[in-house]
């Protein structure tokens, strides 16, 4: 009940949307009624589900690849001066580059299929995870490491049994950012060059003047993004239940 009450501003906006369009205050080509978009969603459920599956698969694969590499590189940087001096300037230089700018290049190299989108997402997801893993591990309490070392821990055990779990709150914050970036980038990439996916569907509907379908796809993207973020947040709460936080 409380959760529903908390969401009332969203309900209010949707209500204003529905009423103002029903009252013909807005051209339905610009903004069709909410109900029309919902009806269109049901009518195209199969198609939109297929698009969503493609988008989620690309985002998920890219996140896994980019995040996995980010995790390994971040750990290496925290443990080895050589890795730190090699990767630190590269990351500093490439992090501010909008990865979307590389997409035309990726399309030339990897084609219009899944490859170019997964690569773009991987590139995007890599940065928040590598940076958070690196700084989280660098910041691990020296005494926790010392405690393990005086109990016979090898340097590999220090890395996997002490530094990695101690840095998990940071790493997870990186994962959460990377997840929302992934979703954003996959939709954008599908708009630029694709034959399916939710991004493609939105742009295709716009170009064919299917305002209802366009809004149905936009709403679907919004809801999916919200659900994915909530799931990641819940996983985080479970994984980090040991944290002694004020909240």
């Amino acid at each position: 009940m409380k959760a529903i009450l908390r969401l009332y501003p969203i309900g209010l906006i949707l209500l204003v949307w529905e009423l103002s369009t029903r009252a013909k205050l807005v051209d339905p080509m610009f903004l069709p009624p909410l109900s029309a978009a919902v009806v269109d969603f049901w009518a195209n459920l199969g198609l939109l589900m297929q698009d969503a599956l493609s988008s989620l698969m690309r985002a998920g694969a890219g996140l896994l690849i980019g995040g996995g590499i980010g995790l390994v590189v971040g750990m290496a940087m925290a443990r080895s001066k050589l890795a730190e001096s090699f990767f630190d300037p590269l990351i500093s230089a490439l992090f501010p580059t909008p990865k979307l700018a590389l997409f035309p290049l990726l399309m030339v190299w990897l084609g219009l299929g899944n490859g170019s989108k997964i690569a773009l997402v991987a590139l995007t997801a890599f940065f928040p995870i590598v940076i958070n893993t690196y700084s989280g591990m660098k910041g691990v309490d020296k005494f926790l490491i010392w405690n393990a070392r005086t109990k016979g821990a090898s340097s590999f055990q220090v890395l996997t049994r002490v530094m990695a779990p101690a840095a998990l709150p940071f790493i997870f914050a990186g994962v959460r950012i990377a997840t929302s970036f992934s979703f954003l980038l996959v939709v954008a990439a599908e708009m630029l060059g694709s034959t399916d996916g939710l991004g493609f569907r939105i742009l295709y509907a716009q170009r064919t003047f299917e305002a209802n379908t366009m809004y149905a796809a936009i709403l679907f993207v919004a809801v999916l993004g919200y659900v994915v973020d909530r799931i990641v947040g819940l996983i985080g709460r479970r994984l980090l239940a040991w944290q002694d936080t004020a909240a």
């Binding site: 005494f143 010392w146 405690n147 070392r149 016979g152 049994r161 040991w242 944290q243 002694d244």
Partner: protein, 271 residues
């Protein structure tokens, strides 16, 4: 002064071969300006097997640094440290350390914290580790809290976990850095008695660093007094109190006398 003369000068324990032999150990750190700052001036100290030694001194006297050097975590700039006849070159599970402010692992329950050292060393199978952990949890009086996370425990309880965690690894020597520094006065006295009981039962060699002179006297068979600027050992006292200690000994005239003597010495050393 020569090394040999210095060692004879020591308030050396009566036993034949000391377990810990610290000879001319000094530590200095480089400064960003290119100079160096002395953290510890030549320290000589021997500790017999089974002895309980307190090191007391104001903050900045290098007592923690000395402890970390015995534990192999910090390398001395000069001099040598031997434990059990072999030179300390790095951390060794034979020398356990209980760190300041209970540095236990916050993502592990009480039981997995206590088992952690055994796991790292691959000692025994899972069932044996569990049995050892539960025995030490019992010893520090935390039975019933095995599955709690550190965030659910009080400071005194976390301190007990840290003590159990180190003793569970069965080290020959236990070094404690202000082990009771952040617990309240009542818990502190209780933990002091528990610590002495554990020491008597286990027969381990224990060195405790503290900034409380009363605690140093109550716990130690010997009190090593350190002073800052330059950081060094300024005196060593034998404590002539019987074991087991009793509450009366805390306020006994001998205790008060020794306390005042050390206090005057420390005050003279703090300039």
């Amino acid at each position: 002064m020569g090394l040999v003369a210095e060692q004879q000068n020591q308030n050396a324990p009566k036993q034949a071969s000391p377990l810990i032999r610290i000879a001319g150990v000094a530590k200095s750190f480089p400064t960003p300006e290119g100079g160096s700052v002395t953290a510890l001036e030549a320290v000589d100290l021997t500790v017999a097997r089974g002895e309980f030694v307190s090191i007391v001194g104001p903050s900045g006297c290098g007592k923690s640094t000395l402890l970390y050097m015995i534990g192999g975590l910090v390398e001395p700039s000069s001099g040598s440290i031997e434990v059990g006849g072999s030179r300390v070159v790095g951390p060794d599970p034979k020398v356990g350390i209980v760190f300041q402010e209970f540095r236990i692992f916050p993502w592990k329950t009480v039981r997995s914290n206590v088992m952690f050292g055994l796991e790292l060393q691959g000692k025994g199978n899972a069932a044996e580790r569990l049995a050892i952990a539960d025995r030490y949890i019992e010893m520090v009086g935390l039975r019933g809290f095995e599955d709690r996370l550190p965030k659910e425990l009080s400071g005194g309880m976390k301190q007990r976990v840290a003590i159990a965690q180190t003793f569970a690894c069965d080290p020959d020597v236990v070094l404690m850095d202000e082990p009771l520094g952040s617990v309240d006065a009542l818990t502190r006295e209780k933990l002091q008695d528990e610590l002495l009981r554990i020491w008597r039962d286990s027969g381990k060699t224990i060195i405790v660093v503290t900034h409380s002179i009363e605690e140093a006297i109550y716990l130690g068979q010997r009190v090593v007094v350190m002073a800052p600027r330059p950081s060094r050992v300024i005196a060593t006292y034998d404590v002539h109190l019987d074991h087991p200690r009793t509450a009366e000994m805390r306020t006994a005239p001998e205790t008060a006398h020794l306390r005042n003597e050390i206090w005057n010495l420390v005050r003279g050393g703090v300039t």
